[in-house]
Amino acid sequence: MNIDVQGPRRMIQLLDAEGNIRFAISESVVTGWLVILAVLAVCLILTHNMQKVPAGKKQCAAEYIVNFCNKMVRSNMGEDCMNYAPYIGALFSYILLGTLISMLGFRSITADISVTGTLAAVTFVLITYNKIHAHGIGAYLKTMINPLNIISEVATPVAMALRLFGNVAGGMIITIILYAALGSASGALYNLIGIHAETYYFNIFQIGIPAVLSVYFDLFSGTIQSYVFIMLTMIYIQMGRE
């Protein structure tokens, strides 16, 4: 039985003379670059050769995506917050593709608490900016007299980061444990029918069965959690403005 749950690997690292790591780039960042390149490629392909009256399917798809983001921001944040729509769309595509990239065999970038913590920190900055912008710095500091308010202020980004991380990483760990268990079951089956596992090792149970769990943990949970993340971002920003 071989259960191997690892954090993100170091892909690029610079060592100094004693062999200590001075600078390292983790797997999540490199996979994040791939996601950014994929989003850029999709944008360039979809918006190529645009016309006033949509002629092809590509422009219809692009308009559908833009309308989806605009509608979501308009219904959740109001007409005066429409300049947040590009940020919300970028956040949604980054988190969604970064989570779904585990279907291609990469490690999900959101299964790394540094990535989700960074995204939650950006949301925290936006919330605080909107609160100060709407009420003034004096009123903002006055609410901080109550210590419970400080706790709730800090708990918002922490909860957002841990929610995304916990869902994706929990699903990843369950998938790894399931693979290990199915490998052991295949080995037991081979021993039972008399094939030596050392000579011919092919895990028959690992075909097909993990796909059922993958539909839930990768597709459903990833989509729901990225939707929830942007939804909470919009709701908290809107709450900060009021």
Binding site: A159, L162, R163, F165, G166, A169, G170, I224, M231
Partner: protein, 92 residues
């Protein structure tokens, strides 16, 4: 002899971590009950007024995700105990 004592101490710490991780996942009970209640109420509402299904369903998912937070905290503690081994370093 000293190695054996260290090994015993490590076994006790690892066993305690595994038990603690299992106990931490008791936190999954609360979100389970809460989300079940929320989804049940949502289905009740949709049964009464089927035309507002499109508005109620996203709200339900957001509410479920917020209700899930405490369970995720428990899961995070369990993951920390199982894979990060925070207490082994106190053995020296």
């Amino acid at each position: 002899m000293e190695n054996e004592a260290l090994l015993q101490a490590q076994s006790i710490v690892l066993a305690g971590q595994a038990i603690g991780a299992g106990l931490a996942m008791i936190a999954g009970i609360g979100p389970g009950i809460g989300e079940g209640y929320a989804v049940g109420k949502t289905i009740e509402t949709i049964g009464r007024q089927p035309e507002i299904k499109g508005e109620v369903t996203p709200t339900m998912f957001v509410g479920c995700a917020v209700a899930e937070t405490t369970g995720i905290y428990g899961l995070f503690v369990a993951i920390m105990l199982l894979f990060a081994n925070p207490f082994l370093k106190y053995l020296g």
